[in-house]
C-alpha cells in the first residue's frame, strides 16, 4: 500500500478556509505548556505551527498540498518541503526515531524479545545492539509479564525503557503489569513515581497469520486509566509519534500494524515530534467525516477514490490518538459535514469505534444529521483461510456502500 500523506501534507486543512468560517466558530488559541521545547516543530492538524517552532529554511504555508487524494508515492515527492527530505520505509522511520532518541538521552533503552542480536522481528531495532550494547538493547527471555514489569520498575528508578512486544498479542501476557503497574502506579503512589515507558509492537490482521497473531489490543487496553494509546499509519507519523512517546512522561502504547511496515514515504530531514493527543487530517472534504486509524486509513483512501469519482467529497481523519480522542479535530469536522462514518479494524464489540461513537454522540449530537455509523471487524477470531480473513475486516467496497447510505 502506498503512503498517502507526505510531510507537511497534514496541514492541508488551511486550504479550505471557507468551510471554517461558514459555521461561525472560531479556532480558539491553544495554550501550550511552557516546558514544550521549540527545538523541533510540531504541526497541528489545523495547519498551525507551534510558536517558536523551527522554521529554518522552509516556508510551510506556501507549500501545502491542498487536495491529498490517494496518490502514488512518486508523484507526491514534490509536496514535502523546500528540502528534499529522505525516503524510507515505515519500520526504518521507527528505527530512525528510536535511534535519535537513544542518541539524545542515554537513559532510553529497549527491552524485548529478539530486539538485540536479531535486530527485531520486524527489523525496527536492526543494528542498534552493536551500536549501543547488549544492556541498552536488551534481549529478554520469553517472559512478557515479567519483562514489562521490569521495564516499569526501571522507569520508576530513572530509566526510559521501550518495551517491544514481538506481536502486540503477546502483550496480553503482560496485561497485569500494563494495567496495574504501568497505568496505575503514578496515581497510587500519589504522584511520586513516573512511569515513562513506551510499549510498542505490531498488531492487526496480517496475511493469514491466524487468530492469535491477528489481534487488535487497542480495545482491550483502552479502559486502563493512566495510559495513552496512539496508532501510527505512515512513516512520517510513525517517526513523530515514536519520538513523542519516548519523550512523554506518561506511559504510552504505540500500536503499529504488521502490514504497514514496508510503506515508503519521503520524510523531512529535520527533527520533528508530533503531538500524541492530536488527530491527522488526511483529506479535507464536505460531505461526510470518515474517522479511521492504522491500516484502515488505506482502505478508506482507496474507497475515497471511488467516492470522488461518484461525486462525493469525504473528509478523512486519521484519529491517531486512540486514547484520548482528539475531540477538537473530530468535532470541527462533524460540525462541518454532519455525518460520521467510523472505519476501524477493531472488533465490533467494545472497540475503539464503539467508544468513539459514544463520545461523538455525547459531545456532538446536535450537529449530526444521521446516526453515527461504525464499520468494524467481525466479532470472530481471525480465520486462517484467506477468503474468510478478507471478510472479517472492512473492505473498501463496504466503505463506499456505507458512505452512499449515510449521504442519502
Amino acid at each position: 500500500m502506498v503512503a498517502i500523506i507526505q510531510g507537511i501534507g497534514a496541514a492541508t486543512a488551511l486550504s479550505s478556509s471557507s468551510s471554517f468560517d461558514s459555521k461561525g466558530f472560531q479556532l480558539s488559541t491553544v495554550k501550550y505548556f511552557p516546558e514544550r521545547k521549540a527545538t523541533s516543530f510540531v504541526v497541528r492538524s489545523d495547519g498551525r505551527l507551534i510558536p517558536g517552532s523551527n522554521l529554518k529554511a522552509r516556508n510551510v504555508s506556501g507549500r501545502l498540498v491542498t487536495n491529498a487524494v490517494a496518490a502514488k508515492a512518486d508523484t507526491s515527492a514534490t509536496s514535502t518541503a523546500s528540502k528534499p527530505g529522505h525516503e524510507l520505509l515505515l519500520f526504518e522511520a521507527l528505527r530512525e526515531g528510536l535511534e535519535e532518541e537513544m542518541d539524545r538521552d542515554p537513559r532510553v533503552c529497549v527491552i524485548g524479545e529478539d530486539v538485540g542480536h536479531y535486530g527485531g522481528s520486524y527489523k525496527v531495532t536492526k543494528d542498534l545492539a552493536p551500536k549501543y550494547g547488549d544492556l541498552r538493547v536488551l534481549d529478554t527471555p520469553i517472559a512478557e509479564n515479567s519483562f514489562t514489569g521490569m521495564a516499569v520498575g526501571a522507569a520508576m528508578t530513572g530509566l526510559r525503557p521501550i518495551v517491544e512486544g514481538m506481536n502486540m498479542g503477546f502483550l496480553l501476557l503482560a496485561y497485569n503489569q500494563i494495567s496495574n503497574n504501568c497505568g496505575m502506579l503514578h496515581y497510587t503512589s500519589g504522584g511520586q513515581f513516573t512511569i515513562p515507558v513506551v510499549i510498542r509492537g505490531p498488531g492487526g490482521v496480517g496475511r493469514q497469520l491466524g487468530a492469535e497473531h491477528s489481534q487488535r489490543l487497542e480495545s482491550y487496553f483502552q479502559s486502563i486509566p493512566g495510559i495513552q494509546m496512539v496508532a501510527c499509519s505512515t512513516p512520517y507519523n510513525a517517526k513523530g509519534l515514536m519520538k513523542a512517546a519516548i519523550r512523554s512522561e506518561n506511559p504510552v502504547i504505540l500500536f503499529e500494524h504488521v502490514l504497514l511496515y514496508n510503506l515508503k514515504e519521503r520524510i523531512p530531514d529535520e527533527e520533528y515530534v508530533l503531538s500524541l493527543e492530536e488527530a491527522e487530517m488526511v483529506r479535507p472534504g464536505e460531505h461526510i467525516t470518515i474517522l479511521t486509524y492504522s491500516r484502515m486509513r488505506y482502505h478508506v483512501m482507496q474507497a475515497a477514490k471511488t467516492l470522488v469519482n461518484k461525486g462525493y467529497d469525504p473528509e478523512v481523519i486519521d484519529i491517531r490518538s486512540l486514547k484520548p480522542f482528539d475531540l477538537y479535530t473530530i468535532g470541527n469536522s462533524i460540525k462541518k459535514t454532519h455525518r460520521v462514518l467510523i472505519v476501524e479494524e477493531c472488533m465490533r464489540t467494545g472497540g475503539i469505534g464503539a467508544s468513539l461513537t459514544a463520545a461523538i454522540n455525547e459531545n456532538f449530537h446536535d450537529y449530526l444529521d444521521a446516526p453515527v455509523m461504525c464499520l468494524s471487524s467481525q466479532d470472530v477470531p481471525t480465520p486462517y483461510a484467506g477468503t474468510l480473513e478478507e471478510w472479517t475486516v472492512v473492505q473498501p467496497a463496504q466503505i463506499v456502500t456505507a458512505v452512499e447510505q449515510l449521504c442519502q
Binding site: 480558539s28 491553544v30 495554550k31 505548556f33 542515554p106 537513559r107 533503552c109 550494547g133 544492556l135 541498552r136 527471555p141 517472559a143 509479564n145 515479567s146 519483562f147 514489562t148 514489569g149 521490569m150 521495564a151 516499569v152 520498575g153 526501571a154 522507569a155 520508576m156 528508578t157 530513572g158 530509566l159 497485569n176 503489569q177 496495574n180 503497574n181 502506579l185 503514578h186 496515581y187 497510587t188 503512589s189 500519589g190 504522584g191 511520586q192 513515581f193 512511569i195 515513562p196 486509566p225 493512566g226 495513552q228 512523554s248 512522561e249 506518561n250 500524541l276 493527543e277 492530536e278 490518538s321 486514547k323 484520548p324 480522542f325 482528539d326 475531540l327 477538537y328 468535532g331 456532538f364
Partner: protein, 433 residues
C-alpha cells in the same frame, strides 16, 4: 512424622558450575515417611510436628547454604560478637516500632478510622528489620500488601504511613494508595502491590536500573541493591520464576526474600506447593538459595549481610527463604480459624522481639530500663502519628484527577480545542474527562 511430599526422591540441587549447594543435613521433610497419598487432602499437616523429628534443625539457623554464603555455626557463645550495643538498640527499636504500629493499626481499624484490606505484619518483624536495616537510603525495597513495616523500616515516617492508612492528604501517597500501596520516592520504597507477584518484576527492574547505571551510564560507584519481599504463596507464581531467571541471567543486584509464614490466607504452604522447600528454587536458576530462621533477627541479619554484599559486589542475586509466622490473621477481615492453636503457640514462644530482648539483656548489651525507654518512646511516636493522621485533612475534590498522568496533557483535547487539563474545573475535580 507426616511428610510434606509423597513418594518423591529427595531433591538434590543441580550441580551448577557457579554455585554448589549443599543438601541439608537435617532434612525438613522426609519423603520416605509419608502417610498421605495426596497432599492436598491433608489439612492436618502442622509444621511443628515436622520439625520435632529433625533434631538438628533448631540448633542450626542456616539449613542449606551455597558455597558463596558461608554457613555460620551459630551457638550462644559466638553470638556475642554479632552486634554492637548501638546496632542492637537500633534493631530493637525498629522491631518494636513495627509491632506497636501494627497493633495500633488494628485498634484504629476496629474504631473505624481505616477501611478495606489491612494486612498486619505482627511476628515477622525480624525479617524486615534484619534486611532493611542493612540497606542505604538509595537501595530499593519492594513489597506486597503486607508493607507497612517494610516502609517503616526503610525510613518512611510513621505519621506518613498512618495518614495514608487514614486516607488523608498528608499520607505518603496523598491518601491515594492506602494500606496495600505504600510508596516513597525519597526512601526508595517501590510499593506496596495488591496482586502477589506483581512487585517482583518491578524490583527486578530497579535492580536492572542499578546495573544499567553502573555499566551504561558509567556511574562507577552505583552499587544500589534491591530487596524484594514476598510470601510463600507468591513462590508458586510465574512472575517469581521468570524473575529468578532474569536476575540470575543478568546478575542483577537483587535479593529475593521469601517470608514463608506457611499460610497464604487459608491455604497451607504444604497444600499448595509440590516441593515446599523454597530455597531450593534458587539453585535451579543459578543463584544461591538460603534458608534461615526468620524469627531470629540476628540470624536473618547475618544472612542478609552476605546476600547484600554479594549483590553490591556484582555477583548477582540470592534467594533467601525466611521461615517466619504471622501472629494475626491474613488481614483484619480474616477470622483465622484454620490455623492450629498449637502452631500459633509454638511460634508465639519465638517472638522475635522477646528473643532479641532476652539476647541483649543476657549478653549485657542493654539493660531492661533502656529497652523499656525505647518502648515508651515508640508508644509516644505512634500516639503522635495517630494524632497527626486524625488532624490531617481529607483529600479535596480537586485531588481526584491529579496524578492520573504525570503529564496531564494525556487527558486529551476537548471539543473546544483546549487541552482538558487547562479547564479550570479540572483542578476542581469536576471536569468531565
Amino acid at each position: 512424622m507426616s511428610s510434606a511430599v509423597s513418594a518423591m526422591k529427595i531433591h538434590q540441587p543441580l550441580p551448577l558450575p557457579t554455585t554448589a549447594t549443599r543438601s541439608p543435613e537435617t532434612p525438613l521433610f522426609d519423603p520416605f515417611k509419608s502417610n498421605s497419598s495426596f497432599l492436598g487432602s491433608t489439612h492436618k499437616l502442622r509444621i511443628n510436628s515436622l520439625k520435632s523429628a529433625s533434631s538438628g534443625y533448631r540448633r542450626s539457623a542456616v539449613v542449606a547454604v551455597s558455597d558463596v554464603v558461608k554457613e555460620k555455626k551459630l551457638n550462644n557463645s559466638s553470638m556475642v560478637n554479632l552486634i554492637t550495643k548501638e546496632e542492637g538498640l537500633e534493631l530493637y527499636e525498629d522491631m518494636v516500632l513495627g509491632r506497636a504500629f501494627e497493633d495500633m493499626c488494628a485498634q484504629m481499624y476496629y474504631r473505624g478510622k481505616m477501611f478495606g484490606f489491612v494486612h498486619l505484619y505482627n511476628g515477622q518483624e525480624a525479617v524486615s528489620t534484619g534486611f532493611i536495616k542493612l540497606l542505604k537510603k538509595e537501595d530499593s525495597v519492594c513489597s506486597t500488601y503486607r508493607d507497612h513495616v517494610h516502609a517503616l523500616s526503610k525510613g518512611v515516617p510513621a505519621r506518613a504511613v498512618m495518614s495514608e492508612l487514614f486516607g488523608k492528604t498528608t499520607g505518603c501517597c496523598r491518601g491515594q494508595g492506602g494500606s496495600m500501596h505504600m510508596f516513597s520516592k525519597e526512601h526508595n520504597v517501590l510499593g506496596g502491590f495488591a496482586f502477589i507477584g506483581e512487585g517482583i518484576p518491578v524490583a527486578t527492574g530497579a535492580a536492572f536500573s542499578s546495573k544499567y547505571r553502573r555499566e551504561v551510564l558509567k556511574e562507577a560507584d552505583c552499587d544500589h541493591v534491591t530487596v524484594a519481599f514476598f510470601g510463600d504463596g507468591t513462590s508458586n507464581n510465574g512472575q517469581f520464576f521468570e524473575c529468578l531467571n532474569m536476575a540470575a541471567l543478568w546478575k542483577l543486584p537483587i535479593i529475593f526474600v521469601v517470608e514463608n509464614n506457611l499460610w497464604a490466607i487459608g491455604m497451607s504452604h504444604l497444600r499448595a506447593t509440590s516441593d515446599p522447600e523454597i530455597w531450593k528454587k534458587g539453585p535451579a536458576f543459578g543463584m544461591p538459595g538460603v534458608h534461615v530462621d526468620g524469627m531470629d533477627v540476628l540470624k536473618v541479619r547475618e544472612v542478609a549481610k552476605e546476600a547484600v554484599g554479594r549483590a553490591r559486589r556484582g555477583e548477582g542475586p540470592t534467594l533467601v527463604e525466611c521461615e517466619t509466622y504471622r501472629f494475626r490473621g491474613h488481614s483484619l477481615a480474616d477470622p483465622d480459624e484454620l490455623r492450629d492453636p498449637a502452631e500459633k503457640a509454638h511460634y508465639a514462644k519465638r517472638d522475635p522481639i522477646t528473643a532479641l530482648k532476652k539476647y541483649m539483656t543476657e549478653n549485657n548489651l542493654a539493660s531492661e530500663a533502656e529497652l523499656k525507654a525505647i518502648e515508651k518512646k515508640i508508644d509516644e511516636l505512634i500516639e503522635e502519628a495517630v494524632e497527626f493522621a486524625d488532624a490531617s485533612p481529607h483529600p479535596s475534590r480537586s485531588q481526584l484527577l491529579q496524578n492520573v498522568f504525570a503529564d496531564p496533557k494525556g487527558f486529551g483535547i476537548g471539543p473546544d480545542g483546549k487541552y482538558r487539563c487547562e479547564d479550570p474545573k479540572f483542578t476542581e475535580g469536576t471536569a468531565h474527562v
